[in-house]
Assembly symmetry: D2
Homo-oligomer: 343 residues x 4
């Protein structure tokens, strides 16, 4: 039985981690922490766990005295790095769900997150936790930087094309649409029901932090600089990200070739499903799947790729559990509910 | 490993049954049938099962040659009785998710469903499959009539009061609100997005078929005739039923006594959760829980009970699997995902 | 041209008032006030007015120097009374959209709103602004207390029965369901998209402030004390209230008689529509209609009434404009968009 | 008073036309036709018009005997051409809301709509009814082809750039997202609530009919062939289209220049609002506005334009009424409700 601890309980990723880990037959949740709600039950914060998860919330400090095999950090960026440092120094293996260790250096971090990084050493051993790209490194990592939700969809949607060198580096447009849980649990005008329901809008044009995360990963794959145009939008749905991706191949291709390229790339990856029709958000809801559809438009000479994930699962907590399975030597799919909740 | 078959694959209850049974570690799905889609894959009909459930749909006739321990009928009422007869005569144990065997006699059936019943013999051995009321009978039943979605919420909300003889028989009002999946998978004006979204209405006043189902079960408990006023409404949500129930106690009670009565009644029932605050639909979504809240209004001398279920789970497929667990000698909660999907 | 001023611009009722008054051909909006956003444009707060309403927000103090025929107070209760006093003392006619003058006395107010009333004199001349009950008094009123949203639906649904003396006073159940705008513009956990969408729950059982407002008005009509059981619920919709109302006639009636009673009662009231089928929220959305449906259940001897309004229009801003039309000697329907926005 | 007739009453565009024309003080609706519902009241088909619009539906044939100044065709493409021919031959001026006369020739029509055109003569006098491009021609037109919903957003979003010759013809990507009413009133799996709610997907990739409509209009403006990549998506909302448009300027520009270009282009067009922040769907809901936002990304050298409309108003019925105002010599904004319904 693998013993885990979760730091940060009030948000959606913390709650979703508990949902997934609770159902994992080879895992126990030993401790959940919250500074603001210490002493309350976890189910006081998230009543849908009533009668199921009985744990009381403890201060993060308490973790240091626990025997756990792995710690998940479900904290805001900027805060997470402090706990990562503390737990790494105490010898724990850590999966960080924030953005604090996803980029290549403290300098790049400061440039895009607008604040200094206080745990530069963390970057050395940190592995970008996208199993479809870095599976072997993840197995041995001490600190895994769990990818952002938008980047997960964009990178998985583009990886086969860029690794094959098929795409001109500057010709990538990622038009993404996300559900509201991506904006967090905090009540603010942007998450007020009446500002979201029956509504839709773009936001964060030109400077969203996930841009650099996508670019760095894809540049690594392409072995040349990749620049993307990334535009996020807010959907009136709880969960899910759909990214519509436009690229131009450097040379003549056929639809058949492009589809074969994707199939081959993801052949051994159980959570990527190649689909024959454009996938819909609910077809992955609650699951760890990334569904991909790719087509080639003869008329315009463009490749269009559509990537769909549940932002709280494959885009956060599920991917973290997938990383945990790798780190702990389990089957990559161990403990996952494989059927999406639809409708 | 318990071998199961599912008759009727295109609707929501069939699909939900496959979701739940697939995740059950002690169960295999041997066959899924569909007359209209024979030869297609189950995942062609429900693409969210792509890559997970590979079964091809077979004709219902094929079931007779299979070695299965239990057959689920996920068919419309009126159709279901024909298959129930066939499979029972062939010696199979059957859980019928339609309304065909929920009432006390073919005559009552004809009166409320407006059609003759063609398998009267079925009523003899049929057990009403609400485990919280009939657990022992279900264990041995050959034919289980899985309860309706509204009745599940109403009966569980009222059972403690009526069994205790606390309520005047004619003073029960059940104001119920249901999600759209209760209206079925078929596209019709009433399920068109633009007629449901941002909308709300009552329907089926005075004569809904579930009225008699609730009355019969409650009359049995109360050992006197119980009449209810039942008004269903259509919510702009996918899943979930919330019933607000108004009753008047015959004699003076206190809130404390009423709550104690409920707690005691459901003490040994793992899927009923007594809640301290009015529960919300999403707090049970995707799970087999029925969450109950009860309060006593000193000012008006009324008891108000609120019952919440996921209509596709505790109101249909989940309850069927709970019945299967009982019939097959498994733990009542075996194989269930216990954490609701929220948000 | 009637000159109006609006105090309180940031909420939904203020915004909705501007929408309606802007389209009214015989009305001008002279001033809109906001303490928190003084100096901003009204359209900075509500961008959908961009290019349409150019007014800058002024402090409430400025109103005293304006020549306006009527002032609307779109403020929270407790705050509104202070401005009502100020403007009444300065000789303005006022329509107050808060709860500050809806009840019969400062004492009752204190009991249900939990705070002392600082402008007791206001109660003397205040008229409860439900035109279907108090049309003549409204015409001459100096201070109109615009009804609450739930009470508007409940009172209009019950008035014909109680005036006719048909109903036993203690046998009224009002099960109401409201859209989220009723909870206000402020971001809080209860209005977070993910707590509302695909969700539903009851709240405020037993002690909601609108209970007494409904009871006082109905007792006046019935000329005997009327007690109601009122349960509000939160719908995942923006706008709209649907109240399902259960009553028991003292003596034998027929459906035909009951329907005739309603038709007669509302014969001269242009905003109440008697419907032959249960109405849906969207059938009144954006309009000032209250749609009513009434039926008699022979089996249970109960009358069921369904009342539907748009809570921001007939339940707030529209009713205020209807009151304004009466106070200013205009046609009751003057300036209203008569066709609901559906879908 | 301008007398109008509407052919086709059961769909959303017919219903929305009646909503807008009913509120227009200088217009009367003389006749509404429906073949399938002849003899029923219009409000039987659309109950939200109860008590407001009393007209009975007549057969289309009846129109020929009426004295009307203008006929609106709210019919499916392929059907509409037959009525257009009949009414034009009888001397009526006609606004056709279908796709039958939007393209440049019967041959192009056949190629993209997959059926022969039976009224080739119609193309001669037909004017593409986008007032921001063809205002003067519309004033005198006998047959106006009211634009498609997606094309309205895309063309208005791109027109300033292409007329200025700023954009390379082949470098235009239009990523569009539409509400469900765009798919029509008919119940089908794609409009079932549970397939749309909390969901999102792309459809019609590579071959959507609106592609050619956009290309033809933009090519006309640019005076060179323009090719676009057009991808529509289905939003879980009733109304609204948001198009995110990516272009690459041929030469160096600044954000300031681009914004000035748009402001200048739309200076005299009352229904286009240049916005300083990305607009949201609800900020135009129920109104005839097209809200535009444009920005230049220095990093990627791309222009991003966002266009938002209500697909039933500016994308259909509102644009038709705008065309009517021009054809009848009225103010372009006459009779329009100028404030969107939000929330």
């Amino acid at each position: 039985m693998i013993k885990t601890g979760i730091v940060g309980a009030t948000g959606y990723t913390g709650s979703e981690l508990v949902r997934l880990l609770y159902n994992h037959p080879e895992v126990s949740i030993e401790v959940i922490t919250s500074e603001s709600r210490t002493g309350d039950r976890f189910s006081d914060v998230h009543p849908h766990f009533s009668g199921v998860v009985m744990l009381e919330l403890e201060p993060a400090e308490a973790m240091l005295k626990k025997e756990v095999d792995l710690i998940f950090l479900a904290l805001p960026h900027g805060v997470s790095m402090r706990y990562a440092e503390k737990y790494r120094n105490a010898g724990f293996r850590v999966i960080d769900l924030s953005g604090d260790f996803r980029l290549s250096s403290p300098e790049i971090y400061q440039q895009w997150y607008g604040q200094a990084h206080t745990y530069s050493e963390g970057f050395e051993g940190a592995v970008y936790g996208l199993p479809e790209l870095h599976r072997e490194k993840i197995r041995k990592a001490g600190l895994v930087a769990n990818p952002g939700c938008y980047p997960t969809s964009a990178i998985l949607g583009l990886a086969p094309l860029l690794q094959a060198g098929l795409i001109a580096g500057g010709q990538v447009i990622v038009d993404s649409k996300s559900g509201v849980t991506g904006a967090g649990v905090k009540a603010k005008p942007g998450t007020h029901y009446s500002n979201v329901s029956d509504n839709f809008k773009a936001y964060g044009l030109k400077g969203h932090r996930h841009t650099i995360e996508i670019e760095e990963q894809l540049s690594g794959l392409a072995q040349e600089p990749v620049q993307i145009q990334f535009t996020p939008h807010l959907l009136p749905v709880d969960r899910g990200i759909l990214s519509t991706i436009y690229t131009q191949p450097k040379e003549k291709v056929t639809e058949k070739e492009v589809r074969a390229l994707y199939k081959s790339f993801y052949k051994t990856h159980p959570f990527v499903r190649m689909r024959d029709e454009p996938p819909a958000l609910k077809e992955v809801r609650g699951s760890n799947f990334c569904d991909l559809f790719v087509t080639y438009d003869e008329r315009t000479k463009r490749i269009i790729t559509i990537a769909v994930i549940d932002n709280l699962v494959k885009g956060a907590a599920g991917q973290a559990m997938q990383n945990m399975n790798l780190m702990m030597g389990l089957e990559e799919t161990a403990g996952f509910p494989m059927v999406p909740l639809n409708p």
